[in-house]
């Protein structure tokens, strides 16, 4: 941008673009101009234009002469041009037919950052840090990680049950130990901790891990995340053996294969930093039992050229020994990141002098032993985008990553895209893209063009050679929203895509309430079944079961009746992947009383959902946190967090 005028022009250009985005598509507008108005508009006299009125008088004479000349000189070409199709006003998409085309290419790169080390970055940012309204955090966007064990609020060791309770009056958090009996609750021990927000539990062998965040008595400007580790040699009285704490607010935690992974993010201002300053202020601090742990430079990754000091800290704890295995720090700017048991991926866009830079995906592998950088890839390159866009309609193109997984050595990336091919806003291509990147950063991908607007890519199953994607689309005509399943077969050189449009999972219409049906969450279970949670104006909920053994022809095994299996549900059904049991909370519309219905699933049965029991609850019973735990072949439904833990055995 040369001067302020250019920038203002550009801003109005963006304003125009934004306003045009808000306009509905023609097929979403129900009303039309009357024939009379259409006729009047089409007959508007274009010669009645102010600054041409004078000119027209002169041009009339010239026109007469030129007509004669035209007739003489250009008749042959005029005739021949009539035989050519007129494409000047063709603004529709060139290819209305859906095409899938697999491509292999090498667009992966290795360079992580232009900086040699953290000192160089700090020196640079000391003079050039971008001022932002808040010293940011690293944002989680597409968290996948369905292959990891996520945090719980109640866990059990043998018949001892440990729960987090937040006193609704005082806001004080407690860890409560109780013993599972069939008919009553016995709280044997209460560890009250008023300083910390307890926010999750993990258990491994005889060790209990309690995640906490944001110690309130410390400086308001700093956030901390940590874990209390308890020894359960005497399970009735958990004994605190270690505290591991790191800077930053809690981003995520999970356990996998006996290791606990905790992510936190933080930012500090590097304005005015010089090499004489205390560098430790600008790198993550990790403390074990209050003692600082030094993070070696090789454990700090600088991603590209961040403009601010923001970092994501990862601590890895061996859960058997309660030892801190490693600490890694990722210096980055505003990003989205995706994690799972064996990987973390950062999707980063940085500002450059120019207007817009294509995002790059930085890929890291995580093993029990280490974290290693694989390389980076620009998805824009796959579409022939320039690395940095200049001012043109092309800059409005985008690729939105929905999920990233890593299976074996290969990363799987799922994204939607919208590519403007020219200044013409109707000259675009959109759809979804599935990319595979192996350990050598060799890229293979397939594209599914989609004429309707891609809404989102939902839950994905992570079978060895297959993924199931839900594509939700805003579609044409009466139907505002629908979703269908796509099976991606990874056994081929490039991903093979099987679309299942014969089976529409959801359909919403603004015209006919009877058709209103919306699939919200899809949970994958077993090899050949999917459970679909449906919702109709929050008035019924049902679960479908589908057979997807034939990738190109997914079929219903069981379709939930319109009345569903519950009457009213205010939250998603907690389906448990590894259990045949699940609970559904419901509320009686008349009495306002809540209850939990427990179901067992048998896919082969005519009615796959067998109700085991109904647990009646009070009218103020509405707890978001609860678990179903199993002990000695008995199931226990344990509400906690907002209430003192209790259980209802079934």
């Amino acid at each position: 941008m040369k001067n302020k005028n250019d920038v203002i022009k550009k801003a109005f250009d963006l304003y125009a673009y934004n306003e045009s985005l808000k306009l509905p598509a023609d097929n979403q507008i129900d009303f039309n101009l009357s024939e009379e108005t259409e006729r009047k508009i089409k007959n508007i006299n274009l010669s009645n234009r102010p600054h041409f009125n004078a000119m027209i008088r002169w041009s009339a004479l010239a026109a007469s002469l030129l007509i004669v000349i035209n007739l003489i000189l250009f008749i042959p070409s005029a005739i021949s041009s009539r035989t050519q199709p007129d494409t000047s006003s063709d603004t529709s998409n060139q290819d209305d037919k859906k095409t899938l085309y697999p491509v292999t290419t090498d667009v992966g790169e290795q360079e992580l950052t232009p900086y040699k080390n953290i000192d160089e970055l700090l020196e640079y940012l000391g003079e050039n840090e971008v001022h932002e309204p808040t010293l940011g955090e690293v944002y989680i966007s597409g968290v996948s990680g369905n292959d990891v064990q996520k945090v719980k609020f109640t866990v059990n060791y043998d018949r001892y049950c440990y729960s987090i309770y937040k006193n609704p009056g005082t806001g004080i958090y407690s860890l409560i130990t109780s013993v599972l009996f069939k008919e009553f609750t016995l709280n044997t021990d209460v560890i009250t901790d008023s300083e910390n927000n307890l926010c999750g539990l993990y258990i491994q062998g005889k060790k209990l891990y309690v995640i906490y965040a944001d110690k309130s008595e410390r400086s308001n400007e700093n956030y901390y995340t940590g874990v209390y580790i308890y020894d359960l040699s005497d399970p009735a009285k958990p004994a605190l053996i270690k505290t591991i704490e790191q800077n930053g607010s809690l981003s995520a935690s999970y356990m996998n294969d006996g290791m606990l992974y905790i992510y936190s993010s933080d930012g500090v201002c590097a304005c005015g930093y010089s090499h004489l300053d205390d560098k430790s202020k600008y790198i993550p601090a990790v403390r074990v039992n209050g003692e600082n742990i030094n993070i070696p430079d090789e454990n700090i990754y600088i991603l590209s050229s961040p403009k601010r000091i923001c970092y994501l800290t990862l601590t890895v704890i061996d859960m058997q020994t309660a030892e801190l295995k490693t600490v890694k720090a990722f210096y980055t700017d505003v990003v989205e990141y995706y994690y799972g048991a064996n990987y973390i991926a950062f999707n980063i866009r940085y500002f450059k002098k120019q207007f817009h830079e294509a995002s790059k995906l930085y890929l890291f592998s995580i093993s029990k032993e280490n974290v290693t950088y694989n390389g980076k890839v620009s998805l824009a390159k796959l579409f022939g985008f320039p690395e940095i866009y200049d001012v043109s309609a092309k800059e409005y193109s985008f690729i939105d990553i929905s999920n990233v997984f890593k299976v074996g050595d290969t990363f799987r990336i799922f994204a939607s895209y919208y590519i403007n091919k020219s200044e013409n806003m109707h000259d675009y291509e959109k759809g979804y893209i599935i990319v595979l990147i192996d350990s050598n950063m060799h890229v293979r991908y397939s594209i599914g063009k989609e004429e309707m607007n891609l809404f989102f890519i939902d839950e994905i199953d992570n079978e060895e050679n297959r993924a199931i994607i839900t594509l939700s689309l805003r579609s044409n005509g009466d139907i505002n929203n629908e979703a269908y399943l796509v099976v991606v077969d990874f056994s081929k050189e490039t991903p093979a895509i099987y679309e299942n449009k014969q089976l529409i999972l959801s359909r919403m219409t603004n015209r006919d309430d009877a058709l209103f049906k919306y699939s919200d969450n899809i949970y994958l279970r077993y090899n050949y079944t999917i459970f679909v949670y449906k919702d109709k104006y929050n008035t019924y909920t049902g679960i479908d079961i589908l057979d997807f053994s034939d990738m190109s022809n997914i079929k219903y095994i069981y379709q939930a009746p319109a009345s569903g299996i519950t009457d009213l549900i205010d939250e998603s059904i907690p389906l448990y992947r590894n259990q045949d049991i699940f609970g559904v909370k419901k509320q009686n519309v008349d009495t306002r009383m809540y209850s939990v219905e427990i179901f067992k699933i048998d896919v082969s049965a005519k009615n796959p959902f067998k109700k085991i029991t109904t647990i009646n609850l009070s009218d103020d019973y509405f707890y978001y946190q609860y678990e179903i735990i199993k002990y000695a072949d008995e199931y226990y439904y344990v509400p906690c967090y907002d209430t003192l833990p209790q259980w209802l055995q079934f």
């Binding site: 934004n18 102010p50 603004t91």
Partner: protein, 183 residues
Amino acid sequence: MLLSVLPGSEPDKRKFLEIYELHKKKMLYTAFKILHNQHDAEDAVQEAFLAIARHLDAIDNPANYRTAAYVTITAKNMALKIWHKNRNSPVLLEELDYEITDPLDVESRLCLNEELKTILNAVYKLNNVYRDVLCYHYLYDLSAKEIADLLGRNINTVKSQLKRGKSILLASIKGEQHYEEQK
């Protein structure tokens, strides 16, 4: 060949009809949101096309987003004129069931540099009257006279709206930058 430069020539006609086919529904939608009356909305669209026809040269590509914004802003202003006329009293746009200050979709989609973000925010903060005349001015290079004709306003009114709008915009940009620096 030179025929094409003449007003009312075939290429102009084609361009006009293309604009019409591409944007008529969006314009009607825009007008209808303000007037809630099909008949009045159609009148507004017709008035807007009359104005667009008079300034057809401001449009270079009928299909692009700039044109979509141009024609819908014009339709909106024509609808507001009809609304004022029907009410016989001035009305604030905010009173109408017509949302003009949506969050910036572009921000969520694009990485804007700070300067651009600040200016774009300032554009959205501008009063609708100033924003429209400045938009015509900056984006479509229309003169005050052309804008006055397009919107059916007095030329002196438009001139002062341009001047005042610019100074509000610049003050707002300065204010935002100052605010950013403070932070």
